[in-house]
């Protein structure tokens, strides 16, 4: 009898095992949905796959009567723009302050206590303030994502900069590098892979803040739509929307992994030098 820790499935086995939990969930849903619908055909809680299919066609392929836009794509576009803006601005802030705090002692002693306190403020508690100060438009939603994500990126990158062996910084100086050249040629290229990891971990919180902001005040967006549909108990729209959001999140994660593999191959060679 071989030990469990040494057993490895084949390629097909890996695929099959990975797909199994998904299949089980779908089957369970199908069974319970059919049972409920058999009892009450008007039941809205667990719509049949066919009903969801019709709802998908309605939101993804047919223009809405009032606005003339196709709802799913308009929502997706609006949400992705907010997400990209929020993450982009958070990345810029995280990089600038992460490098400053990690590398320049004067910046660290000035900013670190402030950033430490600031990152303890729950971002959701700031949402009303953002709505009051920035209005209900795009700015406040983007700002919430930035506030929610930037402090983490900043501290994560600062830690990574501090982890760089001191020998490297001395070495760069003996090659004649100024502070700026050290940032551009030694520090920045080495923390970019970590930035991508940080962004991957931030995708979850970013979606959370986006959907929260959209749920409260918006006229379009994926979060806005599912909270709007809740009023009509339209599970046939909400469930596909949630699946779509999950898919978008998974795709962004995959894209980030690919970028990291392609652009920063050296970082995947194992602990180097």
């Amino acid at each position: 009898m071989r030990r469990l820790i040494n057993l490895r499935p084949s390629r097909q086995g890996t695929f099959f095992l990975g797909a199994l939990p998904f299949a089980i969930v779908l089957v369970i849903y199908f069974v319970f949905s059919s049972l409920r619908l058999a009892e009450n055909p008007a039941d809205k809680l667990m719509p049949a796959f066919s009903t969801m299919g019709e709802a998908i066609v309605r939101v993804a392929a047919e223009p809405e009567q009032r606005s003339g836009t196709i709802v799913l794509w308009a929502d997706t576009g609006a949400s992705l723009v907010r997400l990209a803006l929020g993450l982009g601005i958070a990345t810029a802030i995280g990089l600038v302050f992460g490098i400053l705090n990690g590398l320049i002692v004067y910046a660290r002693v000035t900013l670190a206590p402030f950033v430490g306190v600031l990152s303890m403020v729950p971002p959701m508690a700031l949402l009303p303030i953002l709505f009051i100060m920035l209005g209900l438009e795009e700015t406040s939603k983007v700002a919430l994502i930035v506030i929610g994500v930037a402090p983490y990126l900043m501290r994560d990158l600062a830690l990574r900069v501090e982890e760089l062996p001191g020998e490297q910084l001395v070495k760069a100086q003996t090659l004649g590098a100024s502070t700026w050249v050290i940032v551009a040629r030694v520090v920045l290229p080495q923390i970019l892979p970590r930035l991508i990891d940080g962004l991957r971990l931030s995708l979850g919180p970013a979606w959370l803040f986006l959907i929260a902001a959209e749920a409260i005040a918006s006229t379009e967006g994926l979060g806005y739509r599912i909270f709007l549909m809740r009023r009509y108990m339209a599970m046939d729209v909400i469930l596909p929307y949630v699946a779509w959001i999950t898919f978008l999140a998974a795709i962004s994660d995959w894209v980030l992994v690919q970028i990291s593999r392609r652009a920063f191959g050296w970082a995947h060679l194992g602990r180097g030098a």
Binding site: E167, T174, L175, A184, V186, W266, G272, A273
Partner: protein
């Protein structure tokens, strides 16, 4: 190239005295091997020569002038580890030194100038026996190859003083012998002044023109940190009788 004078140097960390009353005069082109017990302050002494830290007392003069307050291209260094940049491949690591020398503002060359720097770097790599590994990243190089790379990178800026902190400490004896041949050839060719910390007495006498022994002359059993080490022996090595590893022994990377 550069004469170095150390006058009554002390280094204290809080209550702990690491170095005390260190006096030293080093002529141009000398090869000083630094030996001493672990923890006696050899690396500390190199850090002071690098301007990585400042002595608590005393002065270091280079060509009669006080040392600059920051590390600079006049003093190159090779550490035991972490001397090269993991995100650049071998040839980029060496070319970086040339790029910074030629474009101090950006630290980056473009187009023709960049290609020229890269091909010069390839020649320098070939000179230390790494010609075949130009495109490899440090993580893909063995310990000996990484140290060859670090040496090539440090020499690319043509430092007047080269500081080596146990550069071959992690290498096997065969590789070490090859590296001895390499470093003494480069030392002779460039005429630079070398300070090398080592735990291997044979290495010290084989390479150095002077062997400096660091040790404590005073002990307080109650307070081990009260007194620091100083240079207790300063042994000139007669080059004509000592066996310098010949160039034929150094060829090709492990």
């Amino acid at each position: 190239m550069a004469t170095l004078r150390v006058e009554n140097l002390w280094m204290e960390y809080g209550a702990q005295t690491v170095l005390e009353r260190v006096n030293l005069d080093v002529a141009d082109g000398a090869f000083c091997a630094l030996v001493g017990a672990s923890g006696c302050g050899k690396s500390t002494f190199l850090r002071l020569l690098l301007s990585q830290e400042r002595p608590t007392r005393g002065t270091i003069l280079m060509d009669g002038q006080p040392l600059p307050q920051d590390p600079g291209p006049d003093r190159g260094v090779v550490f035991q580890r972490y001397s090269v940049f993991p995100h650049l491949n071998a040839v980029q690591n060496v070319a970086l030194a040339l790029e910074i020398a030629r474009a101090p503002g950006l630290g980056r060359l473009f187009g023709k100038a960049r290609r020229a720097a890269l091909s010069e770097a390839e020649v320098m790599l070939a000179d230390v026996g790494l010609g075949h590994a130009c495109g490899h990243y440090p993580a893909e190089l063995s310990g000996g190859m990484q140290q060859r790379l670090a040496i090539a990178q440090a020499l690319a800026r043509k430092p007047r003083i080269l500081l080596l902190d146990e550069p071959f400490g992690a290498l096997d004896p065969g590789t070490r012998t090859q590296m001895h041949g390499l470093i003494s050839r480069l030392w002779r060719e460039t005429g630079m002044t070398v300070f090398m910390v080592t735990h291997d007495i044979r290495e010290a006498f084989a390479l150095g023109t002077r062997v400096l022994v660091f040790d404590k002359t005073r002990h307080d059993p109650q307070a081990p940190g009260a007194y620091g080490a100083t240079i207790t022996y300063d042994l000139p090595v007669d080059r004509s009788t000592s066996k310098v590893p010949s160039a034929s022994e150094e060829k090709s990377a492990p």
